[in-house]
Each structure stands twice: as structure tokens, then as C-alpha cells.
């Protein structure tokens, strides 16, 4: 009775969201796994258990393995690039610039644009046509005499084509990462910096020994946010060059095989692997932050 009184109100308050989460997130996750273990093709559902065939076939599916390579290249380029750009922007703003509020807005704004619109603009900027059809960066480079910079971007024949997609993705999100870093830097109490300065530390050393350690949690959350976005990114690739093997990722393959090919089980298997991939990033982070909070 006493226990119920302690837990009851809280539980009651949380129960709507617990139920919704339970049904719409975890329930559907389970349903998705069930579909992935069947052999459902065509419009009529077929849940008969068919073992792990869908999963064992994927490593031999060159479309899936190509897509996997692409998403790894994209993730690395996107996460590292966005972190670096966001950090540098924050560092510059933190020094105190005229019109800081305005600049913050400018850098943050691209995030407000949907990936589809971003992709349409960048598709034009990164167009690799030559001659009269030349547009975007290549045209600028060409006109400035910087011919060596003209390249094929996301139509490149190398393995680096997906890295070109990291440009628009990074453009959209580096402002957000900048805001995270800026908040982190501003969160460092001035007393600590003062104390270090009194002890004779110069500015770089103040940054290295005082500010940097306090930014670690920011970096961790930034990496988690960026990494899971990169695994889920769909609209950018879809709008830049649909069904191009050079930049396709498993998320797109899942969509095409499910809705074009009506191979629902294969789509579910890819979706399940994507969830596993994302949880590889997120679960350690949650575990780490829960532990850190307990210690406090």
C-alpha cells in the first residue's frame, strides 16, 4: 500500500507515453522482426516462420554490401566533417564577434530546411556536367581557373562518392553542432578560467586543460546524434540521384525492395539490421550516461 502510494502517481502520469511507446515503437519493432523471419512477398501478408534466410542471403547480395560500404564512407565523412566544422565555428564565435546573434542564426538556419530541398539545391551545386550544362561548384572552379578542383562529386567512380553527400548533410547540421559546442564552452565557469590564468596559463593552455575536458560530454552527444542521423538518412540520397549504386545506402534499398519489389521480408530484415546498427551507437551512450548520473 505504502509502495503503491509512492510509485502510483508517477506511474499513472507516465503510463500514456509508456503505452504509446510500447505499442508504436517496441511493438512494431517486434512485428518487424517477425516479418523479417518470414518469406512475405506480394501484397498479402505471410507470417509463416522461415528462419534466418533473409539475413543469411544479405551478405551475398552485392546491392546490400555496396550500400553498406557507402553508408560507412558517408558516416565517417559526415560525422568527422560536421564535428570539425561545428567546433571551429563555435570556437570563432566564442571569441566574441560583432553580430554574434545574427551569425548564430545564419549558421543554424540550414537545419530548418528539409533534406529534400537541400538535396535539390546541392544536386545543382554538385552537378558534374561539362560544357554548356556545367553548373554549381564546377562552374565556379572553372571560371576561377581552379580546374584541378573540378570533379565528379557524387557521380565519382571511386569509393568516395558518398562522401560528396556529406557536404549537404554537413552544411545542414554543422550549425546545430556549433550551437552544442558553443553552449558547452559557455558552460565553463569563468572562475575556473580566471584561476588558470592567475596560475600563469596562456589562452591555448586554458582551453586545453580547462575547457577541453568539460567539452567531452558535448562531443559524445554530438557523435551520437550525427551517427544515428547518418544511418537513417534517406531523403538526401533519394533526391540527389535516385537508385544510383554509387551513393545508395541500406535505408534506400530497404524502401525499394519493400515497396517496388514488394519483398516485405527482405525489407524488414534490412530494417532490423539498421535498428541494430543504430543501437550499437546509442546503447553504449545511454549506458554511459546512466552510469555517470548514478555516480553523481
Amino acid at each position: 500500500m505504502h509502495r503503491l502510494r509512492r510509485w502510483g502517481p508517477g506511474l499513472l502520469l507516465l503510463s500514456p507515453s509508456l503505452i504509446l511507446l510500447g505499442v508504436f515503437v517496441y511493438g512494431f519493432l517486434g512485428w518487424n522482426v517477425r516479418v523479417s523471419l518470414a518469406d512475405w512477398r506480394g501484397l498479402r501478408p505471410d507470417y509463416a516462420y522461415d528462419g534466418f534466410d533473409q539475413y543469411t542471403r544479405l551478405p551475398d547480395d552485392t546491392r546490400f554490401t555496396d550500400d553498406l560500404n557507402n553508408v560507412v564512407v558517408f558516416t565517417i565523412a559526415f560525422v568527422v566533417g560536421t564535428l570539425v566544422v561545428g567546433f571551429v565555428l563555435a570556437l570563432l564565435l566564442e571569441r566574441g564577434v560583432v553580430g554574434e546573434g545574427f551569425l548564430r542564426g545564419v549558421f543554424l538556419f540550414p537545419m530548418a530546411i528539409s533534406f529534400i530541398a537541400t538535396a535539390i539545391v546541392w544536386r545543382w551545386l554538385l552537378n558534374n556536367s561539362a560544357g554548356r550544362q556545367q553548373t554549381g561548384f564546377n562552374e565556379v572552379f572553372d571560371n576561377l581557373g581552379l580546374d584541378f578542383l573540378v570533379n565528379n562529386w557524387f557521380k565519382s567512380d571511386t569509393d568516395w562518392a558518398p562522401a560528396a553527400i556529406a557536404l549537404p548533410a554537413g552544411w545542414a547540421l554543422s550549425g546545430y553542432i556549433m550551437a552544442l559546442f558553443l553552449a558547452g564552452m559557455r558552460g565553463v565557469p569563468d572562475d575556473l578560467r580566471e584561476a588558470a590564468r592567475v596560475d600563469g596559463a596562456n589562452e591555448p593552455r586554458v582551453f586545453w586543460h580547462v575547457v577541453r575536458p568539460m567539452l567531452l560530454p558535448v562531443v559524445t552527444s554530438a557523435v551520437v546524434i550525427l551517427a544515428h542521423i547518418s544511418l537513417k538518412t534517406f531523403d538526401l540520397m533519394f533526391a540527389m540521384d535516385v537508385e544510383s549504386r554509387k551513393i545508395e545506402t541500406p535505408a534506400l534499398y530497404m524502401w525499394f525492395t519493400t515497396y517496388d519489389g514488394q519483398n516485405f521480408s527482405r525489407g524488414a530484415a534490412i530494417a532490423t539490421l539498421l535498428v541494430l546498427g543504430i543501437s550499437l551507437v546509442i546503447v553504449p551512450y545511454i549506458w554511459y550516461s546512466v552510469r555517470a548520473e548514478r555516480r553523481r
Binding site: R44, N128, S129, N152, D157, S244, R245, W255, G261
Partner: protein, 432 residues
């Protein structure tokens, strides 16, 4: 008043969106106007992917005619844009799975509808065909292609031609070429001349346009009979003839701008208009782009002929309308299909959309400019009719999706044997 109306429309749109999102929850479609039993329906929902460039104008002309005939009903026009219909099809698949069909929906004629038929999602329309005498006015080959086990499930409203090669006469003249090629070998000869003059011989767009080119290279190289055999198993994908035709496709692509392929079919036509490229193989919806969007003059500023090796062959695709099982307003859906299959309906829709009627008794005076060519060929009984791969006539969704996958790789690698092996395996897997 107007703002009230606008608000009402916004509310309606919101309801449509909600029903798309939340249709998992079941019957959100039982409007007060009454369903199939008792009394006439007051609402009719038509689902399509026609949203732009001639398509939506044609659709609106037909819907307007339908509204005139049924002044008291409300028409809900559910259209989803993009991806040559793939986006709409994804959404439609969800609705059919949840037993929440629209009153009629658009599908390409042929195998694309076979999944719906197998799943029991559409009603047979044989009685309607009998009643309206359609068995006599549609070409026999077309009826054969849309008949499954003796039943017909859809009403073809238009015909598009896939095997069309577009060009700019001024470009050919400049390069000293008299006429477009009649075989792909001749194309390769011309390509050298064109490249010497710094003109791109052929332009290309995203993967589906490459598939469009592939089907027409296969058709031109193999001939209609062997081409048809590719889809029913009587032509072996791994035979020498098919491999040679696939090699030809690779060679043709090597004279295209595939390395900087356009993002869609319209920008792939632009270099031809601007005089930087010679040819493009695209379906005859391209005519609307040249004529209406770019305001060019037929035969002077742009021209077209059958793609190499396909003279006397009509590689068709067609939009058809269906009667879904459990359509909420079946009486109106039937009226709609009656209109779509009628001469009046088809002659209203097609000149605006830029296609020709599926019926052979259309009014020839309405089809001028480019459309004269396909109109005459379609109604000519000596023309051989075959179906398009890229547009859902000959391969069902599962088989076609596997071909798409294999083609993505083939276009990059040029490995004909590997592609043929993958497609043959996919045929076994999905059709066997």
C-alpha cells in the same frame, strides 16, 4: 464565403492525410453520404500519380467531365507525386494492405497489376467490357496482355509509346548526318561522326531511363518475338544472342553522357534542345516537354522516329484504372470506368495528356503533330505490339525490382554475362 470554402478544403485535405496516416485504425472512411448499399454515393476518390506536365491537366479534364455528368458528387483527387509513380505505389500498397482502398486507382497495364490480382485486391471487369462492347474497340494484342486467366481487371485509358528516339534536326544537319539510325550498328557509326564534331551522341538520365534504353536496345537487337520470350521464359537470358544484345547496350552507353547522367528525364533532353547532343530514347511523354514546356516546333526544332531496329513495332505502356475490392463507392467507380473507357472520355483525356487513346476508334483529327505517328501505328493492324519493361507491362513488381538491382550494377560494370545470370536467377526466383 471563400475563406469558409478554403477552410473546408483544407479540412478535407487534413482528413485525407489523416486517413492515409491513421488508416491502420480501420474504418475512417464511412462518410455520411452513404456507401455501396442503398442510395447513390456522393463522394468519389480517385488515386493517381498524375501531378505535373500534361498529366494533371489531362486528369483534370477527365475529372471535370465526370463532374459534369455527376453534378452532385464530391470528387477527391488523391495524387502523390514523384518517382514515375513509385512514391504513389508505396502509399497505395499500404492502403490496399489495410483494406482501405480508394474508389479507383491508376496502375500501368500488364504485369504491374498482377500482384493486386493475385492478392485479390481488384474486381474483374468482364461484364463491363461486354456491356460497353470494349472487346471490339481495343486491339486484340492489348486485350491479351491485360487478360489474366480469362479475366480483365482494368480499363486502359491511354497508350504511350516507349520505342521513340528524339533528336534535334539542326544537330544532325550540322554533323552531316542525313537521317537518324535505323539499326544500333548504324548508331555506333554515327556516334563516331558526332563525337568528332564534339556532340554527345546519346543522353541518359537516372536508372529507370537506363532501363528504358535497355528494353529498346533489346527489342531492336532481338526482334519482337525473342523480346517477348524474355518475359515468359522462352528466350534464354544467357543465350549468345541476348549476351550480344547486352554488349550492344554497353557499347551504346559508352557513347552517352552516363558519367554525368541527368537527374531526371527532362534535363536529359535539354542538351539536345541546346544542340550539344544528338539523340535520346524516351517515351512519347517527351513530346509534351518539347512542345508545351519548351515551346518548340515539331519537325523543325525537335523530331522523333522509332528507336533503331523497331520499325513497325509498337512498344507500349498504358495507364489503366481499376475497381478495387471493397471500394467504398462502387456505383460511382463503375461510372468512372465507363467514362474512362468511352470514346468521349479517351478523346477528352489524351490530347491534353499528350498520349493516344487505347481504343482504335479515336478521332484522328485530335491527334496532330508528333501524336499523328503513334496514332496511325496503333490503329494499323500490321503493327506488332509489345510491352515495356521499365513501365510495368511485361515484368511484375518483384521481377522488375530484381532487374533494377542488377541493372544498377550492370550500367557501371558492363558485365553482360553477370547481368544475364542475375536476371535469369531472378526469373527463377520470382516467376518459377
Amino acid at each position: 464565403m471563400t475563406s469558409f470554402r478554403a477552410r473546408g478544403r483544407a479540412f478535407l485535405a487534413a482528413i485525407v492525410v489523416m486517413s492515409l496516416v491513421a488508416s491502420g485504425c480501420g474504418d475512417d472512411d464511412d462518410d455520411a453520404g452513404g456507401g455501396g448499399d442503398g442510395g447513390a454515393s456522393t463522394e468519389f476518390e480517385f488515386f493517381s500519380w498524375w501531378t505535373g506536365g500534361g498529366d494533371s491537366e489531362g486528369k483534370e479534364a477527365l475529372l471535370e467531365l465526370f463532374q459534369e455528368q455527376n453534378p452532385d458528387i464530391e470528387i477527391v483527387d488523391s495524387a502523390i507525386a514523384g518517382g514515375a509513380g513509385t512514391n504513389a505505389q508505396a502509399d497505395l500498397a499500404n492502403r490496399l494492405l489495410q483494406d482501405d482502398p480508394p474508389d479507383s486507382y491508376q496502375r500501368h497495364a500488364g504485369a504491374e497489376l498482377s500482384d493486386d490480382i493475385e492478392a485479390g485486391e481488384v474486381e474483374p471487369l468482364n461484364d463491363l467490357y461486354e456491356e460497353e462492347g470494349w472487346n471490339e474497340v481495343f486491339p486484340e494484342t492489348l486485350l491479351e496482355l491485360i487478360t489474366v486467366d480469362g479475366d480483365i481487371y482494368s480499363v486502359p485509358v491511354n497508350i504511350h509509346r516507349s520505342n521513340v528516339m528524339w533528336y534535334n534536326p539542326a544537330v544532325l544537319e550540322e554533323a552531316g548526318i542525313d537521317a537518324p539510325p535505323t539499326t544500333w550498328d548504324e548508331f555506333l557509326d554515327q556516334a563516331e561522326t558526332l563525337e568528332a564534331a564534339d556532340i554527345t551522341p546519346l543522353t541518359i538520365g537516372p536508372t529507370w531511363t537506363q532501363e528504358h534504353l535497355l528494353e529498346n536496345v533489346l527489342l531492336g537487337e532481338l526482334g519482337p518475338e525473342a523480346y517477348n520470350g524474355l518475359w515468359d521464359g522462352s528466350t534464354d537470358w544467357e543465350s549468345d544472342e541476348v549476351i550480344a544484345a547486352l554488349d550492344m547496350f554497353t557499347e551504346v552507353l559508352s557513347h552517352s553522357n552516363i558519367d554525368s547522367a541527368a537527374a531526371d528525364w527532362q534535363p536529359a533532353l535539354d542538351p539536345i534542345i541546346e544542340g550539344d547532343a544528338a539523340y535520346n530514347v524516351m517515351g512519347d511523354w517527351a513530346d509534351t516537354y518539347f512542345r508545351v514546356d519548351q515551346e518548340l516546333a515539331w519537325e523543325e526544332e525537335y523530331a522523333a522516329t522509332t528507336s533503331p531496329g523497331t520499325d513497325g513495332v509498337f512498344n507500349f505502356l498504358s495507364d489503366t484504372f481499376t475497381l478495387p475490392v471493397g471500394a467504398p463507392h462502387e456505383d460511382l467507380a463503375m461510372e468512372w470506368l465507363r467514362l474512362a473507357g468511352s470514346q468521349e472520355g479517351q478523346d477528352t483525356f489524351n490530347p491534353v495528356k499528350g498520349s493516344i487513346p487505347a481504343r482504335t476508334d479515336g478521332d484522328a483529327s485530335l491527334y496532330t503533330g508528333y501524336l499523328e505517328q503513334p496514332f496511325n501505328d496503333w490503329t494499323d493492324e500490321s503493327t506488332t505490339i509489345v510491352g515495356s519493361l521499365a513501365h510495368g507491362v511485361v515484368a511484375d513488381n518483384a521481377f522488375k525490382a530484381e532487374i533494377d538491382s542488377a541493372l544498377q550494377e550492370f550500367a557501371g560494370s558492363g558485365d553482360s554475362a553477370g547481368f544475364a545470370e542475375a536476371v535469369a536467377a531472378a526469373y527463377e526466383d520470382t516467376q518459377g
